[in-house]
């Protein structure tokens, strides 16, 4: 029964809970009592949280904007081309590759048909180039012009707001018809109904049979709404010189198996090209994933800028909070002494001051989140095209960062308070 005196009183979770409750009460009192001081010190945290939250929404927004515009490419489509999408150097290596023939698409479809286990679905030739289109006196340049078959509808988004996509008869016959993007229609016709009007693509005349529904642009870098699609046979006839831009799109059966499908496609294409085992591929298989990597630098730049601002603001904020907590410890030295005399242990005091600094930071974090959300709504209202996305994850992250800032900045003063000698603390004037 008479064991160690201190061990007799079990260190129970109940007791810890009581201490926590008391600490929160004291923290609330303390913050309320020093309102203006607390608000000033939270400014750094508020700015930091606004910065990190806006950065987060912008980065997520870019991803979403990218996905939206990328859906035009399709994530289950592979692009067989002469050039890889992501290569800057080695120009001559690719330049000197043998010609890339669009008839390869037919060969490929034949091979797909012969192989019952093929992971590939359908190959469609879709060469593209930049052309100038005109209607009457109006003319726009830099229009992304694709020649393809009616099967294109099978692997890309071709829903039309007016009219329809190229049909099989037009495709087979290589008729001079076209489907135009929304912005092209807007620029050439401005209010006039474009249906069945005849436009000029470079110097050939095409009748408009459809207008694509709005697909959106990506940060103004690239727009799917500024394109023209014409039948493949017609494209080959008039724009054939552009072999470099030849492209065969191959839809895979299951995008989960896109890597395996890519290998199969590579094998098929090596056979088409008649390559020997030791020879390198003289073609490139591209996929949307590669394009995605091209926006990485933008995202990284944003992230670095955001993190820098956040880091700086939080650093300043943390120093402010450390300072205010040191002041608080100093001011309340006698109180700490009293608490210790009444039986507060080191941990109790440590937690009390930590909770105080964490509370201040949390308040800052919540205010910051509120401000960021306000800004987010405002930006959304002023620039609807600017992609941003507010997510619950971001809220959790912001609160977590606030708490961590509180702990890091409050620790040194709280530790100092917890180590105070009760005799000296009680004597402190």
């Amino acid at each position: 029964m008479k064991d160690s005196p201190t061990r007799r009183y079990a260190d129970t979770p109940i007791r810890f809970h009581h201490e926590l409750g008391e600490s929160f009460r004291i923290a609330a009192q303390q913050i309320a009592a020093n309102r203006s001081r607390s608000i000033l010190t939270t400014l750094g945290v508020i700015i930091g949280i606004v910065a990190v939250t806006l950065m987060g929404t912008a980065i997520r927004g870019i991803d979403i904007g990218f996905d939206r515009s990328m859906s035009g490419f399709g994530d289950d489509v592979l692009y067989v081309e002469q050039w890889p999408w992501n290569t800057g150097d080695d120009y001559w290596k690719f330049r000197n590759r043998p010609d890339f023939k669009l008839s390869f698409a037919d060969r490929l479809n034949q091979m797909i048909e012969e192989n019952p286990n093929s992971l590939l679905d359908l190959a469609v030739a879709a060469p593209a180039s930049i052309q100038t289109v005109a209607y009457g006196k109006r003319q726009i340049s830099n229009v992304y012009t694709t020649g393809t078959t009616h099967q294109y509808a099978y692997l890309a988004r071709t829903n039309c707001e007016k009219g329809r996509f190229i049909n099989e008869a037009e495709s087979r016959g290589g008729r001079n018809v076209c489907v135009i993007g929304r912005d092209v229609a807007g620029a050439l016709f401005s209010g006039e109904d474009p249906m069945d009007k005849v436009i000029r693509v470079r110097d050939q005349e095409y009748r408009v049979v459809g207008v694509f529904a709005k697909q959106g642009s990506f940060l103004g870098i690239f727009s799917w709404d500024s394109q023209v699609v014409i039948p493949l046979a017609s494209y080959i006839k008039y724009f054939k010189s552009n072999e470099e831009n030849a492209s065969i799109r191959v839809k895979v059966r299951d995008k989960i198996q896109i890597a395996e499908a890519k290998e199969e496609l590579r094998g098929d294409f090596r056979r088409i090209r008649g390559l020997l085992p030791e020879q390198e591929d003289d073609f490139a298989i591209n996929e949307q994933k590669v394009l995605r990597s091209s926006i990485e630098p933008v995202k990284t730049g944003l992230a670095i800028a955001g993190l820098f601002i956040t880091g700086l603001a939080l650093f300043v904020g943390a120093i402010g909070i450390m300072n205010i907590t040191f002041v608080s410890v100093k001011e309340r030295t006698r109180e700490i002494g009293t608490r210790k005399a009444l039986g507060a242990r080191r941990r109790t005091i440590l937690i009390q001051f930590l909770i105080e600094s964490v509370s201040i930071c949390l308040i800052g974090g919540i205010v910051g989140l509120g401000l960021a959300f306000g800004l987010f709504v405002l930006i959304g209202a002023l620039f609807p095209s600017f992609p941003m996305q507010f997510s619950p994850m971001l809220v959790v992250m912001a609160l977590f960062i606030s708490v961590m800032t509180g702990i890091i900045s409050g620790f040194a003063p709280a530790w100092q308070a917890s180590r105070l000698n009760p005799v000296e603390a009680l004597r402190y004037e």
Partner: protein, 245 residues
């Protein structure tokens, strides 16, 4: 778990008169002050029994404050042995001492040392919070203690709404609330006018009559005279130990 927080066996043992609460044997205390070492206590022996009313007197620099800090387990001696309720506390760690202070010692300070933004009730509850007592019981015991010092009608008042005497009574209630083995009052009337001082001394007297062990540290003769035993300190040693009962 609950049993841990109730009155324990040796809380009851110390009640009978005559049991030793404090046994101090040859304790010394040295402080480093710059390059010099100050010997505040130079080998003090002291025995305090249960239900004693003792005053410690002495001029400043006599070591009485140091002795009081030892008695209150706020500090540990440089050498010597200090037994509190038969337990050696002279070499305990900070947190173990905090535990002893929380359970066994009730402090009454000259400057009251109440938390300014907390009500009387919250102030009195504080030691019970550190002891891990549940909220209802805490409240009940704090109310009891406040009633005992005649402040039943001032429970929701904050210290700045109370007179000096009332504040000191809140402090006494706080000292009482854990049913301590020792009540240690450091110049309890030092900040009060003489009439209120009398009142406070009356309360301490009552505590003694009800079986508590009370130690008052003071330099005022009339305060010390109410005690049954006066220990006088000089130059870090006990000069006289006079039983007046």
């Amino acid at each position: 778990m609950q049993s841990d927080f109730e009155v324990t066996a040796d809380d009851l043992i110390i009640r009978p008169k005559g049991n030793v609460v404090i046994r101090i044997h040859q304790i010394t205390k040295e402080y480093e002050m710059g390059y010099t070492t100050i010997r505040a206590l130079k080998g003090v022996d002291l025995l305090i029994h249960c239900n004693e009313y003792l005053a410690i007197m002495g001029p400043s620099g006599s070591g009485k404050s140091t002795l009081m800090n030892m008695l209150g387990c706020l500090d540990t001696p440089t050498t010597g042995r200090y037994e509190f309720n038969g337990i050696d506390v002279s070499s305990m760690e900070d947190d173990e001492l905090a535990e002893i202070r929380n359970r066994k010692i009730g402090f009454v300070f000259q400057t009251f040392n109440l938390l300014p933004r907390s009500t009387s009730l919250q102030n009195v509850e504080l030691p019970l919070i550190y002891a891990g007592v549940r909220a209802e019981e805490r409240r009940q015991r704090a109310e009891q203690a406040l009633n005992a010092v005649g402040l039943g009608d001032r429970m929701q008042h904050r210290p700045n709404e109370l007179s000096g005497g009332q504040r000191q009574r809140v402090a006494i209630a706080r000292a009482l609330v854990n049913n301590p083995a020792l009540i240690l009052a450091d110049e309890p009337t030092g900040n009060l006018d003489s009439r209120t001082g009398e009142e406070i001394m009356g309360i301490l007297e009552n505590l003694y009559t009800n079986g508590h062990t009370v130690v008052v540290v003071t330099h005022e003769q009339n305060v010390a005279c109410r005690a049954r035993r006066i220990v006088r300190m000089r130059d870090g040693l006990i000069e006289s130990d006079e039983d007046r009962a």
